[in-house]
């Protein structure tokens, strides 16, 4: 298929792997930031193609995984209200909160709907003027522009029954937090191509320079990832620490200005808690003061009373920081499976635990 098969050519993949093997002189540890990349690596067995010197750690770039349990619990509390239609992306539905998931609230009578775009959620609000439509706005810089557009649409249409439960994360502060940790082994990053499609990669230049860590903006297809690894290892072998762009067919240095403008109009930078990792200053987005009427947490003050609790057996925080692999968790594939997940990394299609469970279990 056009624009797909070209990037999945096994022959070229083996050539790339061989070129990496010829170049490498010592062990290197790289982290792919995005969960989509993690899944491609395991699905196509790319880690098995690489020489043993190259270790890949799986990063925190799965929006479902890093959404804090408090926010899941707030979504559950909202969805249980009779006046609320809770609209969400499909893969949030199975994520466990303190007790239950959106799927279990739906089964108990909550009105939970899967939408494919936040503007579909705004359209729901238009069609159901007697109900309150809350969109569960999770994700990184990739989903933020569409969420901002939904708010702007709702404002233009004067929708009084539409709001967002916001859990927006920003990638660069998380990378800085990882690099600042004394346990960090990461020597190079494959940055998330879609995030950079929106934001560009200027803000990564300071990180690469200050932490002397190469960052290669990388796509999601097998050849993208292998080329990204090749570029990153080349930098490491040559002693360079720069930002390079493997995903040039999608990413421009300055990113998508119109999308950034939409984000800036609606959101401001805020502190955020990352599930499994903890609080990271200035690592998220919140609605600006002038758009507070679209903030579900303001509209439904009762959600602030939610008390959240994580499973003590889940080590997803260590996994999201690249400190452990899923198979090193005692609960993996035992107490914790996709049917009975203890943490979000086992739920999402992009979660590292789910990726190992699906592709590498025995």
């Amino acid at each position: 298929m056009k624009y797909l098969d070209e990037y999945r050519d096994p022959g070229v993949a083996r050539q790339y792997a061989a070129a990496i093997a010829r170049m490498v002189t010592r062990p290197w540890t790289l982290m792919e930031v995005c969960g989509g990349q993690t899944h491609a690596i395991l699905r196509f067995g790319l880690d098995q193609l690489l020489p043993p010197e190259i270790a890949l750690l799986h990063g925190p770039g799965c929006p479902v995984c890093v959404t804090p349990v408090e926010l899941i619990d707030k979504a559950l509390a909202l969805a249980a209200r009779p006046e609320v239609i809770l609209a969400s992306y499909g893969d949030m539905l199975r994520v466990p909160g303190t007790s239950g998931s959106l799927l279990s609230v739906k089964a108990a009578g909550g009105d939970v709907r899967i939408v494919y775009s936040p503007t579909d959620a705004a359209a729901l609000a238009e069609r159901h003027s007697e109900r309150q439509v809350v969109f569960f706005a999770v994700g990184f810089e990739t989903t933020a522009p569409a969420n901002a557009m939904a708010v702007l649409q709702a404002e233009r249409k004067r929708l009084r029954n539409f709001s967002l439960l916001v859990s927006h994360m920003l990638v660069p502060p998380a990378l800085e937090a990882l690099l600042a940790s004394p346990n960090c082994h990461v020597q190079g990053f494959l940055a998330a191509g879609h995030v950079c499609t929106v934001m560009g990669f200027r803000e990564y230049e300071a990180i690469a320079r200050e932490h002397r860590t190469p960052i290669v903006v990388t796509g999601f297809e097998p050849l993208d990832i292998l080329q990204g690894v090749h570029m990153c290892v080349k930098q490491l072998e040559e002693g360079r620490a720069e930002v390079e762009n493997q995903y040039a067919r999608s990413v421009r240095p300055e990113g998508n200005r119109a999308a950034q403008e939409a984000i800036r109009r609606v959101f401001r930078v805020s502190d955020r808690r990352w599930r499994g990792i903890g609080d990271i200053p200035r690592s998220g987005l919140a609605l600006r003061e002038e758009y507070q009427e679209f903030d579900a947490e303001r509209r439904f003050p009762f959600v602030s009373e939610v008390v959240a609790r994580e499973s003590p057996d889940c080590i997803s925080g260590l996994i999201l920081q690249g400190l452990r692999k899923p198979r090193e968790c005692p609960a993996f594939a035992a107490a914790c499976t996709p049917e009975t997940p203890l943490g979000a990394t086992m739920v999402s299609d992009e979660g590292a635990c789910a990726a190992y469970y699906r592709h590498r279990r025995p």
């Binding site: 298929m1 797909l4 999945r8 096994p10 993949a13 083996r14 989509g36 395991l42 699905r43 196509f44 067995g45 790319l46 098995q48 193609l49 929006p63 479902v64 992306y89 499909g90 893969d91 949030m92 539905l93 199975r94 799927l103 899967i114 494919y116 579909d120 999770v138 994700g139 990184f140 990739t142 989903t143 879609h194 097998p222 499976t337 996709p338 049917e339 299609d349 992009e350 469970y357 699906r358 592709h359 590498r360 279990r361 025995p362």
Partner: protein, 351 residues
């Protein structure tokens, strides 16, 4: 002025029989129900061996029988390539076919929601008849119930079916042997994608049609030619992957599938890519996997390809003696990955 005489008597008037929508009374066992049967179901199913009017059908049989049932709740009721009626006939016919049975007759139970358009019911009954004719099976008995508005999804259908199994036919996962060749009768993922695209609110334009079709004839075509078939399974909910996982587990053998050998139409792949779905897990309604003895594999493939329901058939894999009970998908990258069941339905991803 009303255009017909008004009934002033105190008794409950007979409901107007020229209704365009289903009323609760259509399930009440009275006149309206009989009218519904006579006007919709009898014309649709007449000319078949037994009529659906009696309490049950009486069958005179002394053979080995296969017996199955399935319920149909598809949404939307009409979709490119079929509708719930065609699905309800093909699905049950196919379950019989997967036992190696020659389908003989079906029952059909209708659960109608109050307010359902009668014209839609007529269309659906007609398409059931067409599918039954194609599958050479008779609909011999049925039932109709009506539920309150809001308590159903327009229409649900249950069909059950009986088929005859020839002497010597032993088709089950337990019969699968190492070395068996896995054949597939065509491209996968089309039904699920066509349904999804037809759903309201989905702004994906596609000309893809469901592969919904009766498969008994294609299976009998193989059996009649003396092909040694060990197991058959139609790849419905959960798609090809789930079907293979079920068989591998039950047979306690490993199934090795070559990813490149599994046909998927470009358009199906494209829509699946957009939504983050794996076509191997997307539902089909006209596809089956056949596990055949290696000596018969080439001949079976030729026979399948010569049949209208197997034109796109291919050899997709082989059963290995490894007792792992797993399905391993060999990618072109020289690495294998395990295919497992999904824990629920595939949900669209965030990014």
């Amino acid at each position: 002025m009303p255009d017909h005489p008004v009934d002033f008597s105190l008794s409950c008037p007979l409901p107007d029989s020229r209704h365009t929508r289903i009323l609760l009374a259509h399930g009440g066992g009275g006149t309206l129900m009989h009218q519904l049967i006579e006007r919709i179901f009898v014309p649709a199913f007449q000319g078949q061996p037994a009529g659906p009017l009696h309490d049950g059908a009486v069958l005179e049989l002394r053979d080995r029988l296969a017996f199955t049932t399935d319920s149909y709740v598809v949404n939307p009721l009409f979709f490119p390539g079929g509708d719930i009626g065609k699905l309800a006939v093909c699905g049950t016919v196919n379950d019989l076919a997967m036992c190696g049975a020659r389908p003989l007759c079906l029952s059909a139970g209708f659960i109608l929601e109050e307010g359902f358009p009668i014209e839609d019911l007529r269309r659906i009954a007609r398409s059931m008849r067409e599918a039954a004719d194609e599958a050479k099976v008779a609909i011999v008995t049925g039932d109709t119930k009506v539920v309150d508005r809001g308590k159903g999804d327009g229409l649900y259908i249950n069909t059950a079916g009986i088929g005859l199994v020839a002497e010597g036919v032993r088709i089950s996962p337990a019969a699968v042997r190492p070395g068996d060749v896995v054949l597939l009768n065509g491209d996968v993922g089309r039904h699920g994608v066509a349904i999804l695209a037809a759903r309201e609110g989905f702004q994906i334009e596609t000309r893809l049609e469901s592969d919904c079709a009766p498969l008994a004839d294609a299976v009998l075509h193989l059996l009649d030619a003396g092909i040694e078939i060990h197991c058959l399974r139609d790849c419905t909910r959960g798609g090809l992957a789930t079907t293979l996982v079920e068989i591998a587990r039950d047979a306690r053998l490993q199934i090795e599938i070559a990813e490149a050998a599994v046909p998927v139409l470009e358009e199906t792949r494209g829509i699946c890519e957009i939504l983050g779905f794996d076509p191997l897990y997307v539902a089909n309604e006209g596809r089956f996997a056949a596990f055949v003895a290696p000596a018969d594999a080439d001949r079976a493939l030729d026979l399948l390809r010569a049949h209208p329901q197997g034109a796109g058939a291919g050899r997709i894999g082989v059963v290995s003696p490894d007792p792992s009970g797993l399905v391993v998908l060999q990618s072109g990258f020289g690495s294998g990955r395990i295919l497992d069941m999904l824990s629920g339905e595939q949900l669209p991803r965030i990014c």
